[in-house]
Subunit: 449 residues, 2 copies
């Protein structure tokens, strides 16, 4: 990739426009996209200006918002009009929602009447809802058409819609009566009526359905497109599989960020300013730091124990660290299970019992290992100290495993997002209980007061 | 969902078969799948036996392996034959690869000749490669056919292939000459030749391409199906978008598990035994515990400092915890950037500079906060101790941010997987450097030896 990037840069600097135009026409879009963020703005504008219209559309709908704006601004009136006319209404809606007011107005003025109407319709819907993903460019037919007539209509409309592969059958009030795949239409008799070959039980989502739920439904039924309806079962638009793939990717990033206490952002790393990055990170760090200061109070409460046996301080990080790791493992298994729909709160009894047994087995093993380590590796401590640390380790792992499994289930039950809570905040909870167990166990076993 | 599950259970217990058959025919597949894991085996078998053939296929290809086996075993010869005949060869191949040898043999004996040949062909390929995802049921035509003739061929074959929406143009040696979408075929003149309407620059993947790479290519180009070719550019099969969605989901789970130090597994949580869960978790916990014992040695090395100022022990968890959180944030941003292809090792200079500045800003803010907390909240310490803790916090955050960003980039550069290393193992690295900085700073500021 690096070599490819260097080559592109050199070509952009040294080639004549006509030569470069031929070259960029040959570059596969995925390779161009892979290096796009590493190009500077001047290089981006140069390459963009030499792409043909189709590639311009592909590129502009695949890159981050900030680059989109710059490219759009670089276009003169007619070019902008031509580009916008080629964009699908759902992409156009996303674009308009994310650009600055000035660019938005310029875009608006360059839209054709139909595109403006479509975009205005789509802008009514929430970005996170199923309706926020849909396009209005679908194929609709009446139920009393013959298959042959329907196929003629499909052939005529093929270029104007986003997918020809699912055809929706509507009544005069736009209510969804059925769906027929192009494949079934092709396999049917020319003389048959659409209403006799269509599937009447249509899988649909409601306009307010969460987009992640819409993704799961499209996935379950392996659909190319998913129709979105309103309260009266009128067809509002369709969501195509490629937009669902984007939702799944986005969801993936969101979950990973949440578990690492990083704020979400639609901007990429390289295009974010230093302050934008600080803003994404510092709020959670402050919350977690303040929460974690409870550990200071726990340890301070055992000051006399610590003064009597300062070696106990040596093991604080491995006790809290191992507790945190065990708890995170449990929590992750719960969060994935909840996300994929395998686990439910009503299974909580079975799950916690299983986790207790798992925690017991792991706790005994790690506790034993800790005793051996404490006795035989430097700084070697005496048997009673080693036993105190090992016993504490065992209890901490068991408690961490139970807390780690119970917390996400309970949080999900309350309707909150378990991914946010299972990350570092739960680690703090485990630290506090772990340290208490640790010092209490040590105090008892070492006969301190 | 719970109410739905309870209802299903009651129906299975009390209804007559014929009634129950009508009922399960009405249950949407996604709702059935959502509760499937919570049913017991007897209930599963009962419901499965009453589904019609299409729903049986949908169900069996969507559930975990262990349930698949039990259901397949429940079928008598003819029913098994009918079910297997309806399964797509790629699903069949996955199934055969994951069942026990006895079930495999029974399945093999019930396969038709063509399905056996197709499956045998697909079994040659690696599960993780692009070829492991493909189906051999695609539409292929010759370049010198007219559009009308091609459409007639499509209509005739519509039922036998997995997708009719991409049609592949092959020479007599099965080399891929082009591709034409059904949509373009429909939009073309009846008299035109396929070779004149086909797209000659076909986006393909090689049989050995990693499946995650294949997913990214299908995504970039919004393809319904992606052709897989061998070294001679012969078409081996195609990967359809629904299988790519499964890859993306799988990848998502894998990444989350890696970052939490949980071993991967194709079994779901509820179907895993307690020992299977212990085996998935304990190896990493042991590695991390042993790695973390280095922190014991670090603290032991500062025993005299600790004995002179035992309050320093109070702040050990917040120093290591905050360092870990900052480092994890940086690492997560890097890992996501690397995974989505936005970040590359050649940007390392820019990235580390940015992270240093971000770390400095966050470190100063959190260091200041720590000084205030240490001085004014119980257990309040004196100014010089508070300054020592705060200064150490600032340095720890800066170092953690740099380590957190540099480590994943370096690991990826070495061709290893950054997600594995950025999790708890990196936290250990940050703990060790953090504690060293902490005690060294405190020692200097408090004038201890």
């Amino acid at each position: 990739m690096r070599a490819f990037l260097e080559n592109m840069r050199e070509y952009v600097r040294n080639m004549k426009d006509e030569q470069l135009r031929q070259l960029v026409a040959e570059v596969p879009m995925d390779e161009l996209l892979a290096v796009w963020d590493s190009l500077d703005e001047e290089e981006e504008l140069k390459i963009f200006s030499l792409l043909d219209l189709d590639h311009k559309v592909d590129l502009i709908t695949s890159i981050p918002v900030s680059s989109q704006e710059a490219l759009m601004e670089s276009l003169t009136g007619d070019n902008a009009k031509a580009l916008l006319a080629e964009m699908d209404p759902d992409d156009l809606t996303d674009f308009i929602q994310s650009v600055s007011p000035e660019v938005r107005e310029a875009v608006w003025n360059n839209l054709g009447d139909e595109a403006r109407r479509e975009t205005q319709f789509l802008l009514k819907y929430d970005y996170d809802d199923a309706a926020g993903l849909m396009t209005t460019r679908y194929l609709a037919i009446r139920p009393n058409l013959t298959v042959a007539a329907a196929l003629r209509w499909v052939r005529r409309s093929a270029k104007a819609v986003e997918t020809v592969y699912s055809i929706y059958v509507l009544d005069p009030l736009k209510r969804l009566l059925g769906v027929v795949s192009l494949r079934d239409l092709l396999a049917a008799d020319d003389e048959a009526l659409v209403q006799d070959v269509m599937e009447k039980k249509v899988i649909t989502v409601h306009q307010d359905t969460d987009q992640e739920e819409a993704a799961r439904i499209l996935e379950t039924y392996d659909l190319i497109a998913l129709p979105v309806v309103d309260h009266y079962h009128r067809l509002l638009g369709i969501i195509t599989f490629d937009d669902i793939i984007d939702v799944i990717r986005e969801e993936q990033s969101e979950d990973v960020y949440k578990m690492s206490a990083v704020g979400a952002s639609r901007a990429t790393y390289l295009e974010s300013s230093m302050w934008a990055l600080v803003r994404r990170r510092i709020p959670w760090l402050i919350v977690l730091l303040l929460a974690a200061t409870v550990t200071t109070n726990v340890i301070a409460a055992y000051r006399s124990v610590l003064e009597a046996a300062v070696v106990l301080a040596f093991f604080i990080p491995i006790v809290t660290g191992t507790g945190g790791n065990s708890g995170t493992q449990s929590a992750t298994l719960m969060i994935r299970g909840l996300a994929t729909g395998e686990l439910h709160f009503y299974d909580v009894g079975r799950i916690v019992l299983k986790e207790m047994l798992v925690g017991l087995a792991i706790g005994v093993a790690l506790g034993g290992l800790t005793v051996l380590r404490a006795m035989f590796l430097p700084p070697a401590v005496n048997l009673s100290e080693a036993l105190a640390v090992g016993t504490a380790m065992c209890f901490v792992v068991i408690v961490a495993t139970i807390v780690g499994s119970l917390a996400p289930l309970a949080i999900a039950r309350l309707g909150l997002d378990p991914a946010v809570m299972a990350g570092p905040l739960m680690a703090t909870l485990i630290d506090v209980s772990g340290l208490t167990i640790y010092f209490q166990t040590a105090k008892l076993l070492l006969g301190l007061t």
